[in-house]
């Protein structure tokens, strides 16, 4: 994104050498006023190069941020009914990531809650099973063929109770692991702050650069806006399944996966 920097400085060096040689030759000829003029030219030239470089860097950074927003945009826009607007900035997009991860964390916990209530049901069934089992215990004394069935069934029941206990622990761990949403959310908020700060300062820098351009006549913020073409191509740099028009055919899970993977999760 930030291009042309080396070339500009190289050009500066070359011109500097030419001017220096010129300076030496006019000095050798004793043309002092000409020499002063050249020194003045060098001075102005240095300033122009400096402002031009700052302009290039500013422009490059600005485009990098715009391109970041656009790239994020094309991966978010596949979400049908997405609240993120096409012109939303990077901060909006990142806030949307927090919202989506929050929603998904709650969806997971809803399911775990349902699963836990099923585990409770298994627990109460186990109680009823115990009652039935004691009946087998009584019958065992009357029927030789039932010998040992009570003990063996008790062992199975105990095993299943242990399994229920482990299942409960696993489900609780799933709930606790949803804390990733909080952790990542806090980090994303920091990035949002950073991006917002950079954008604010960048606007200041752009304004300053424009003013310098106006005052000195140095053309530093010119060039074609590549982003215009990018914006008109919403499927750019994404897989074939990403199509804005047919967003409804993309499954929910895929949408979330794409969103997260595009952010490096």
């Amino acid at each position: 994104m930030i291009s042309g920097t080396g070339k500009g400085m190289g050009h500066f060096e070359m011109d500097l050498q030419l001017k220096a040689q010129e300076l030496v030759s006019v000095l050798n000829e004793g043309k002092l006023s000409d020499a002063m003029e050249i020194i003045q030219e060098l001075h102005e030239f240095r300033h122009q190069t400096f402002f031009s470089e700052v302009g290039h860097l500013t422009r490059g950074l600005h485009e990098a941020i715009k391109s970041f927003s656009t790239e994020l945009g094309s991966s978010l826009e596949i979400d049908d009914g997405s609240p993120v607007q096409e012109d939303a900035d990077a901060a909006d997009r990142l806030n949307y990531v927090i919202e989506i991860t929050e929603k998904n964390a709650h969806d997971t916990m809803d399911r775990v809650d349902k699963a836990l209530s099923l585990v409770d049901k298994l627990d109460s069934q186990s109680e009823r099973f115990k009652d039935l089992l004691s009946l087998v215990g009584q019958l065992e004394k009357e029927h030789d063929s039932l010998n040992g069935v009570y003990d063996r069934t008790c062992a199975v029941k105990e095993e299943s109770e242990q399994t229920i206990g482990i299942l409960r622990e696993e489900l609780t761990d799933i709930v606790v692991s949803q804390s990733y949403q909080d952790i990542t959310g806090q980090l994303i908020r920091r990035v949002i702050n950073l991006v917002t700060n950079v954008e604010t300062h960048l606007v200041g820098l752009m304004e300053m650069a424009a003013q310098v351009e106006r005052l000195s006549g140095v053309e530093i913020l010119s060039g074609t806006d590549d982003q215009q073409t990018n914006k008109k191509n919403p499927i750019q740099a994404e897989g074939p399944q990403i199509n804005k028009e047919s967003a409804d055919v993309v499954s929910n899970q895929d949408e979330v996966d794409d969103l997260l993977s595009s952010l490096g999760f």
Partner: protein, 127 residues
């Protein structure tokens, strides 16, 4: 430990509030109220009736450490046990929380066992 005690869980992330609520429920404590930052938590605390405060640190509005200091400076609230559950893991921060009078400090991400252990420890000490 009184299982009926009223607990206030303060965190700006609803995910985390729910996780803590679920874990407290597993410990038999179901009387739980929620707030999303110190500013909303403080009036609830001042209304009275809360026995135990579980709070995050990094929140917009009023942070957990500010809330803790408010609690300790209010004669009515000062004796309340406070557990901090936070991603803030710098030594200086933990020290500052301890100096402000925190009763326990759990660093995110945590396990159910850790949270239970810290809560047990707090109420053991209080007797």
């Amino acid at each position: 430990m009184n299982k009926d005690m009223k607990i206030l869980v303060v965190d700006d992330f609803s995910t985390m509030r729910r996780i803590i609520k679920n874990l407290l429920r597993d410990l038999g404590m179901t009387n739980v109220q929620e707030a999303d930052d110190g500013q909303t938590a403080l009036p609830i605390l001042k209304q009275g009736g809360i026995d135990f405060l579980v709070t995050d640190w990094n929140m917009p509005g009023m942070t957990g450490i500010e809330l803790l200091k408010e609690v300790r400076s209010d004669p009515k609230l000062a004796p309340m046990p406070v557990l901090m559950v936070t991603a803030e893991a710098k030594k200086e921060q933990i020290i500052a929380a301890a100096q402000a009078g925190v009763n326990g400090y759990v660093v995110k991400p945590f396990t159910a066992a850790v949270l239970k252990e810290k809560i047990d420890k707090i109420f053991e000490r209080l007797g």
